[in-house]
């Protein structure tokens, strides 16, 4: 968990041999990285595009990009991780821009239907617990930048510096966005808990 800035991890996520394999375009090396980072990337992508199928497709595309372009990565395991999250970030951004253009082409009722598509489906809602729903709804009320930072820090488990590289901002800006995002999120959840009875509110029940 990336709640606090930790000193550099002594143990890298994967070995130098894996990093060298990525530079050579070795699919086994890319597979080794997939095994370590696939879940985190999928969580981040799904949070961005809100569609599990699309998120899985984007995950595959991201690793195919790593296979094709890994030779350009300079640095060790940490650089590979940041490269992957940056690629995933832009893949999600490309998808969202295309979806936005598609929505703009639609009119009237069709537009309303397309807008509804971004909401979680019944299956997803059924699978998600009450706390998950409350936290996701609260996250939607944050600014885009705050939400992205919190997702990269807590779902991607990136450090502030790594998050800064992915989003093209300074580490200071990331810390500030994280702090403000956390405070806002806490206020929203607190207000929600205030509305609910102490014992049946999902956030309250964690106390």
């Amino acid at each position: 968990m990336a709640a606090e800035e930790k000193p550099q991890q002594a143990q890298p996520l994967f070995s130098d041999a894996v990093v060298e394999g990525i530079r050579r375009g070795d699919p086994e090396a890319v597979g080794a990285v997939y095994a370590v980072l696939g879940d985190r990337l999928l969580g981040y992508l799904n949070a961005r595009v809100r569609d599990r199928g699309v998120a899985e497709d984007l995950l595959e595309s991201t690793f195919l990009e790593l296979l094709a372009n890994g030779r350009s990565i300079r640095g060790g395991a940490a650089a590979v991780k940041v490269w992957l999250f940056r690629a995933a970030h832009f893949n999600a951004l490309d998808y969202l821009r295309k979806a936005q253009r598609h929505r703009e082409d639609l009119t009237g009722e069709m537009s309303a239907l397309a807008h509804c598509d971004t909401a979680p489906g019944p299956e997803e809602l059924a699978l998600a617990g009450e706390t998950t729903r409350v936290v996701r709804a609260a996250m939607e009320q944050l600014s885009d930048d705050q939400r992205l930072v919190l997702l990269l820090r807590y779902v991607g488990e990136l450090s502030a510096r790594e998050t800064a590289v992915v989003l093209g901002k300074t580490s200071g800006a990331i810390r500030s966005l994280q702090h403000r995002g956390e405070r806002s999120l806490a206020r929203i959840l607190e207000a929600r808990a205030d509305q609910a009875a102490p014992s049946d509110g999902p956030w309250a029940s964690q106390g």
């Binding site: 375009g25 699919p27 899985e56 995950l59 706390t131 996250m139 405070r183 607190e190």
Partner: protein, 231 residues
């Protein structure tokens, strides 16, 4: 409210844990197997391309030499230097684009290539601001957008803010053009202006490179006239 976590002043570590739990996913094993199989299948052609790439340097050098040969030949007449000030529609504008393409071709450092792409995008934007023809502006903005997309993919962190700025400027210009074109159509534009508006809205296929530039249009018109004149 004894059971409620008060997170207003000092973020609780459980807040991060809650975010993590709300979004954390595991890749299903069947999906992972499919993805890994795709990676292995994709690796074979990639390896083949790399083998070709080992042979390709000579071909690449030859191609670069050919391009630069042409460019240098043109330089003898001062065409490249003169072309740097050429505006869309002028005869030397094609030379200007060719020189830019050659610069990108010989670039081996991705960071430098990203910076170059961004510079060219800014040039297209500046050219778009200086021309009044919506058709040409649309084409220039499309070129600028493509260059920014490419730059964004390879840009180092130091360039990201600049990428965002250029993209915003392109979006602003495109929005302005959209408004102007819509007004032209609403005012009962001619067939030509209506056609341009249709192209701008993307109702037709994207134009080929150079297709919308005036020198091409003039050449096409001349060809059409010449063809019509044949008995």
């Amino acid at each position: 409210m004894d059971n409620v976590i008060d997170l207003r002043d000092a973020p609780d570590p459980r807040l991060g844990e809650a975010i993590h739990r709300a979004y954390a996913l595991s890749v299903p094993s069947e999906t992972a197997r499919q993805h890994l199989a795709t990676l292995r299948a994709a690796a074979a052609p990639t390896a083949a391309r790399r083998t070709q790439a080992a042979i390709a340097p000579m071909r690449r050098v030859a191609m670069v030499c050919a391009v630069w040969g042409g460019v240098l030949a043109a330089m003898a007449g001062g065409a490249v230097a003169a072309s740097q000030q050429a505006a869309p529609g002028q005869r030397l504008y094609g030379v200007k684009l060719g020189a830019e393409h050659a610069q990108l071709l010989i670039q081996t450092d991705p960071d430098a290539e990203a910076a170059l792409l961004l510079r060219f995008a800014q040039r297209r934007l500046a050219e778009a601001r200086q021309t009044g023809d919506p058709q040409i502006v649309s084409d220039l903005l499309r070129r600028a957008g493509a260059a920014v997309d490419e730059a964004e993919r390879m840009a180092p962190a130091t360039l990201i803010a600049e990428v965002a700025t250029v993209r915003d400027e392109i979006d602003d210009s495109a929005a302005g053009l959209k408004g102007a074109t819509a007004k032209e159509v609403a005012d009962g534009g001619t067939g030509a202006s209506t056609r341009r508006a249709r192209i701008h809205r993307g109702a037709t296929a994207p134009p080929e490179p150079f297709a919308l530039l005036p020198e091409t249009a003039t050449a096409q018109a001349e060809t059409a006239t010449a063809t019509a004149a044949i008995p």
